[in-house]
């Protein structure tokens, strides 16, 4: 990947990136440092994931070359002047800039091959960069969107935290070494609370992506990754998208992505000032809005966007571990959207009974309105059931009253009877809520099979819905029977568990008695 991009870079012309990076002071000194760095680069090329501890602060520039040099080695001889120049140029710049050392110059946005082109460009394009010199640490719009999606996949509420363990599992997937991840966490968790807010998460993700692409980790958090900056810079992705559009029109191809991103950011800052809406709370909405506007914005954007992610994926996926191919935005988006929300599960289910496919138990309850009422908890059989059923009956009875008041009256006592024999089982609450909802929707449906059948038959004359009711009742009956079977099985399992637990308790009590005389207080 690198070689390809390098080839492009070498020969492609830097017209594209104007404002990208650092200025390029001395080409001469660059060459010297470049040759010096060759050896290191080769060594480092072997182990791109360097331990942050191993990188002495004095040599960040060397590190910068690691990832990019990778593919550059071939081109070095031929394009020595072009490539090293930008790097070297950056190095003095880096050193002068101090804190944002990490690799401002050499670090192009991961996404774009244009980055690499920018290196050759930088020489010529005296920087017209915006406020912050550390471009590589800037989060582009697509990156931001991707990070927000990933955040939401871990934590639905954008204004809340991701806990440490969740984040740890997630970031461990990136296959970086633990000390590096530990260091990245240290950098990004500004308040050291063991949890990541959205800007902190974006910063951490950005650092990981950077590290995966070979950029050495900075000594301290770059200003563009500070939570304050991130919150301010990305209040409303909508606006950024709009800016994106306007920019795409003026420029061709993916190379402009970089420029447009930069311009966007400059304009975003203005937009941020104009739109003091809360950042985190709206990022979720904004990203969605962004997507919608992006869709509207369409072809130009899309032409750019696919180009960028493709480049990024080609760039990143190849040299780095594929398992973390999430660096590609498209894949990332998909991943963010992929995990379907699991069907709701009752919290009260016994652990061992989890093998039971409760979906089957639940599903019948949904269409068959009253079936949910059937399995009330054995401990409180009649009462909640009765109240539930009463409510259900009330809900039902109201609409039914309009039709057949007498029949409703009949059905209610019968229903109560059926409820008095509850089949057992947990998670009734869910059933209840579903029942109530469904009951309200289908007041005509009845609870117990027989009672429902009876009531169904009792309503033959109930308007046109009688046939529908019959069908509904029959399906309800069927599902209730299934639910009954399931619940009966569950009951037997639970009984067994109860026995086992009893036995354990007895054993523990025995142990306690044995230990008692021994302990002398």
């Amino acid at each position: 990947m690198m070689s390809k991009s390098d080839g492009d870079i070498c020969f492609g012309n830097p017209t594209e990136l104007h404002g990208t990076k650092a200025q390029i002071p001395n080409v001469a000194t660059e060459k010297n440092t470049f040759t010096r760095l060759d050896d290191e680069d080769k060594q480092e090329a072997q182990s791109p994931t360097m331990s942050p501890l191993a990188s002495p602060p004095s040599s960040p520039p060397h590190y910068q070359r690691v990832p990019l040099i990778h593919g550059y080695s071939k081109l070095r001889s031929s394009t020595e002047q072009m490539h090293p120049a930008p790097y070297e140029a950056r190095q003095p710049l880096v050193q002068s800039e101090g804190p944002s050392s990490g690799g401002p110059g050499a670090k192009a946005p991961r996404h774009q091959a244009s980055l690499i082109r920018s290196f050759s460009v930088e020489r010529e394009a005296q920087d017209s960069n915006s406020n912050y010199p550390d471009e590589p640490w800037r989060i582009t719009e697509e990156q931001r969107e991707y990070y927000v999606n990933q955040f939401r996949s871990l934590q639905p509420d954008p204004s809340s935290f991701i806990s440490g363990s969740v984040a740890k599992n997630f970031f461990t997937k990136s296959k970086l070494s633990i000390p590096e991840l530990s260091y990245i966490w240290e950098l990004s968790d500004a308040d050291c609370d063991g949890a990541l807010t959205l800007p902190e998460f974006c910063a951490a993700f950005h650092l990981i992506v950077a590290r995966k692409n070979g950029y050495p980790l900075p000594e301290s958090l770059p200003p563009t990754l500070q939570p304050d900056y991130l919150q301010a810079a990305f209040p409303k992705p909508k606006w950024e998208c709009a800016l994106f559009d306007s920019y795409s029109e003026s420029m061709p191809a993916s190379q402009q992505a970089r420029d447009s991103n930069r311009m966007e950011k400059a304009t975003i800052k203005d937009a941020a000032a104009d739109f003091p809406a809360p950042t985190q709370a709206t990022t979720g909405d904004d990203s969605q809005a962004l997507k919608s506007t992006a869709d509207e914005a369409l072809p130009k954007d899309m032409s750019k966007d696919p180009a960028i992610p493709k480049d990024s994926s080609s760039l990143k996926a190849r040299p780095r571990s594929r398992s973390y191919s999430s660096t590609s935005i498209e894949e990332a988006m998909k991943r963010g959207e992929d995990p379907p929300t699991p069907p709701p599960r009752p919290q009260k289910t016994h652990s061992r009974a989890s093998s039971l496919d409760l979906n089957k138990v639940f599903q019948p309850s949904v269409p068959a309105t009253k079936s949910g009422l059937l399995p009330p908890p054995p401990a409180l059989p009649p009462r909640p059931c009765a109240s539930q059923s009463e409510q259900a009956l009330d809900a039902e009875s109201h609409p039914q009253l309009s039709r057949a008041p007498s029949q409703a009256a009949e059905s209610s006592p019968t229903k109560k009877d059926t409820h008095a024999q509850p089949p057992l089982k947990p998670i009734r609450r869910k059933f209840r809520t579903e029942n109530q909802a469904t009951e309200n929707q289908e007041p005509s449906a009845t609870v117990g099979g027989p009672s429902s059948a009876a009531t169904a038959k009792a309503h033959p004359t109930v308007q046109k819905q009688s046939s529908k009711q019959k069908k509904a009742i029959q399906t309800a009956i069927r599902k209730n029977k299934e639910a009954n079977a399931v619940l009966a099985r569950l009951n037997s399992e639970l009984q067994q568990q109860l026995k086992e637990v009893h036995q354990e308790r007895i054993a523990l009590e025995n142990q306690l008695e044995q230990l008692r005389p021994v302990t002398v207080l």
Binding site: P52, L53, G164, S165, A167, K168, F171, I178, P179, L181, S182, Y183, W185, E186, D189, C192, D193, G194, E219
Partner: protein, 139 residues
């Protein structure tokens, strides 16, 4: 101020030990090791009933001719030991306490990092830099 700073785990093995580069750094390691006995003594002397009331700062553990050793223990039995140059007479107790407090805060920050497993050696750069400031201060 500190010539040597060490963080000892509950099981009495070092999580972090760093000293001013001198000829005989090993001597500091020995001192820290021997100070652990004193720390344990102080902890047990407090009594089981006083666990809650026990102060974290243990004070001067033992003086030698060249150095003084101070101790601090957390509620999770993690010990911080600091060796200070005796010639530094301007060092007051409050300053030592504040240094230990800073150490404790940095240590909790390290613990907050989910990638840090309790019992591992401390490799946090922030912690390192904090200790460096403490050690440079004196000089």
């Amino acid at each position: 101020m500190a010539v040597c700073v060490a963080v000892i785990a509950k099981e009495n093995y070092p999580l972090y030990i760093r000293s001013v580069p001198t000829e005989s750094e090993l001597k500091f390691h020995y001192m820290v090791h021997t100070s652990l006995d004193v720390v344990d003594e102080k902890i047990s002397a407090m009594g089981k009933a006083l666990v809650d009331q026990r102060e974290l700062y243990l004070g001067l553990l033992y003086p030698t001719e060249d150095y003084k050793v101070y101790g601090y223990v957390t509620n999770s039995k993690v010990k911080f030991v600091m060796v200070v140059d005796s010639s530094n007479t301007a060092l007051r107790d409050n300053e030592i306490r504040s240094m230990f407090r800073k150490l404790h805060n940095s240590y909790t920050d390290v613990m907050c990092n989910p990638f840090y497993n309790p019992g591992d050696r401390i490799q946090s750069r922030a912690f390192d830099s904090m200790v460096t400031t403490m050690m440079i201060q004196v000089c």
